[in-house]
Each structure stands twice: as C-alpha cells, then as structure tokens.
C-alpha cells in the first residue's frame, strides 16, 4: 500500500518537474515523457522496487485516460468549421497518411524478424497513446511497448518534423498542420502550435481523426494479416 502511494507521488513529481523544464526552455529535446520516465525507472532501480509493484499504482494513475480521450472530441467540435471547409483534403490526407504509417512500420519490422507482439505494438506508433493502447489490446500487442513507440515517433517528429516538411517543399499551413498531427500526434501538435494557430488547430484535429480512423480499422486488419 505504502509502495503504491510512493510510486504515485514519484510519478506526479517527476512529471511536474519535467513539465517545468520544458515550459521554461521550450526545447523539443526536453521531452516530458522521456525525462519523467527516465527519472522513475532510475529511482525504481536504485530503490530495488520491481515493476510489478509499480504497475498497481500505474493502473490507478491511468484511470482517467479514457475520459481524457473522450475529451479530444472538444477540439474537434471547436474546429468543425475548418472540417467542413477543407473536408476532402483533410479526410484523404489523414486517411492516406495513417495507412502508410501503419504499413511502413509493419513491413520493416516483419522483414527485420521481430515477433508478432512487437510488430502489432509498432503498428499504432502514429496515434496518441490511449488509441495505441487499445489497438494493442484488441490485436495482441503490448501496451507498454506500443506506448514507447508512440513516444519515440512523437519525439522524432517534434525534433525533425518541421524541418523535414520544409525540405519536402510542403509550405501550405493546412498541409503542414495535418502532416504533423497525423504522423506525430500530440507531440507534433505542440510543434504545429509553435508555428501558428491554423497549423495547431489542423494538427489537433488530425491527431483526433487519425486516432479514430486507425483504431476503427487497424485491429481488424492486423488480426487478419499477421498471424
């Protein structure tokens, strides 16, 4: 019981500390999830607390993730006029991007000889964690691994995403926002917001729609495709 309380307090403090650092310096290298996770893992290893003890607290802490995902409908609703205005471009762009993102990751890991559990877990790397966790659960992946791939993708996108888009001559603010949100979920959205309000709104919408679309289609096809 005491251990659970300790792990929860440790997680909250590590998160707040990492968040403070990011807000203060605004550097994409100061990734909140990476820093807090590193602090927690090191503390657990030093104090010799096994992961099993941490996971009980983890279940309590992630309890609100479900309602938090439902809350993503709010930015979607607020931007419904943009959705109407750019309807086609948005749906085709996000749909194609989500599909290609899943296919690329799955093909590379299949040819790299990884196990089914890892392949399924990396398939959902471009959608935000609550979606990725559910996709993993419905198709036989691992939640922690799926979450790690999501964070890795988001970190890559937040550091290199904007530069890459410029190199690819993607200059339209709507296109830039949608690409960042579709591929690099919340972390990409944060970077899109730094670029401009329109990019940010588009990225937030892309994150929500890509998550819905991938969760609705991926478990079915992954179960059929990868035995």
């Amino acid at each position: 019981m005491l251990v659970i309380l300790f792990t929860i307090i440790l997680t909250i403090l590590a998160y707040l500390g990492a968040r403070y650092l990011f807000m203060r310096y605004k550097s994409p290298w100061l990734n909140v999830v990476v820093i807090s996770t590193a602090i927690i893992i090191i503390t657990l290893l030093v104090l010799d607390i096994p992961y099993q003890a941490y996971s009980q607290g983890a279940d309590i802490m992630t309890y609100l993730l479900g309602p938090a995902t439902v809350a993503l409908a709010v930015p979607l609703y607020k931007n419904r006029l943009l959705l109407k205005k750019y309807g086609w471009a948005i749906f085709v762009g996000i749909g194609a991007g989500s599909l290609v993102s899943v296919l690329t990751a799955v093909f590379i890991t299949i040819y790299g000889g990884l196990t089914r559990e890892v392949i399924i877990s990396i398939a959902s790397k471009s959608v935000t964690i609550p979606f990725a966790v559910e996709i993993s659960r419905l198709s036989g992946g691992n939640a922690a691994l799926a979450a790690a791939f999501v964070v890795a993708t988001g970190t890559f996108g937040s550091v290199f995403g904007r530069g890459l888009l410029t190199m690819m001559r993607i200059t339209d603010p709507v296109a830039r926002g949608l690409a960042l949100g579709t591929v690099s979920h919340g972390q990409g959205t944060a970077m899109a917001l730094l670029e401009g309000e329109q990019q940010g709104a588009m990225a937030g919408m892309a994150m929500a729609l890509a998550g819905m679309l991938t969760s609705a289609c991926a478990p079915y096809f992954l179960n059929l495709w990868i035995k």
């Binding site: 590590a14 996971s55 709010v74 086609w88 991007g97 609550p130 790690a148 690409a179």
Partner: protein, 121 residues
C-alpha cells in the same frame, strides 16, 4: 473550492460518456475501442446541442492539458523490454524514422494537391 467541484463534476460526466462507449462496444461486439466510440458520441452530443460545450469544457481542458501525464506510467513499463531494444534497436529505429518521413510526405503533398484544387474552383 467551487471551481474544483465543477471540474470534478465535468470529468465525471466525461467518464460517463466513456463508460457508455465501452458498453456500446461490449453490447455490439464491434472491434472499435470504447474510447473512440465515446469520443464520437461526445462529438454527436455537442453537434446536436444535447450537451453544451460549457458543461464539459473546463474538465476536458484540464485532462487534455495533462494528457502527457497518462503516458508516463505506460512508458515505465519499458523496464521489462530492455533486451528487445538491445537486439533489434536498428530495425526499430529504421521503422520509426521511415515510418514518419514517408507519411509526412504523403499527407503533406496529398493535402497540398487537394487544397490547391479547392482554390481553383
């Protein structure tokens, strides 16, 4: 104090919608996650005006502001996966990097193409 009560109430309301989403999933047996159904449900409720934005706006804002917090406990689960990263690190790295660059290109150019067409019309 009143602000906290209001926030908690709004989060409970979001939780009820999430719960309904899960119920719909288990009753119909479709392979769409309950949180996605809940999100769709909330969007419909807002669009039809059944639920007003101010009933949930603050609670939703709080949860989304701290969305990253919920990622942390999952990421700590990586402790158990050290050997996979050690053995297959290069493959996973390539999958992450190409799996971002190629879709960036696709989304960006597809949207630019359609967006330009729209402007001509």
């Amino acid at each position: 104090m009143l602000k906290v009560v209001k926030m908690v109430g709004q989060i409970v309301l979001l939780w009820v919608i999430y719960w309904l989403g899960n119920k719909i999933m288990s009753m119909t047996g479709i392979a769409i996650p309950g949180n996605v159904i809940g999100m769709g449900l909330l969007f419909v409720l807002l669009s039809c005006g059944i639920l007003k934005l101010e009933y949930i706006e603050e609670g939703a804002g709080f949860l989304l502001k701290h969305l990253l917090f919920f990622f942390v406990p999952y990421a700590v689960g990586l402790m158990n996966w050290g050997s996979v990263f050690y053995n297959y690190g290069v493959v996973l790295f390539v999958a992450i990097v190409l799996g971002a660059i190629i879709p960036y290109f696709i989304v960006g150019h597809v949207v630019q193409f359609f967006h330009r067409e729209d402007k001509q019309c």
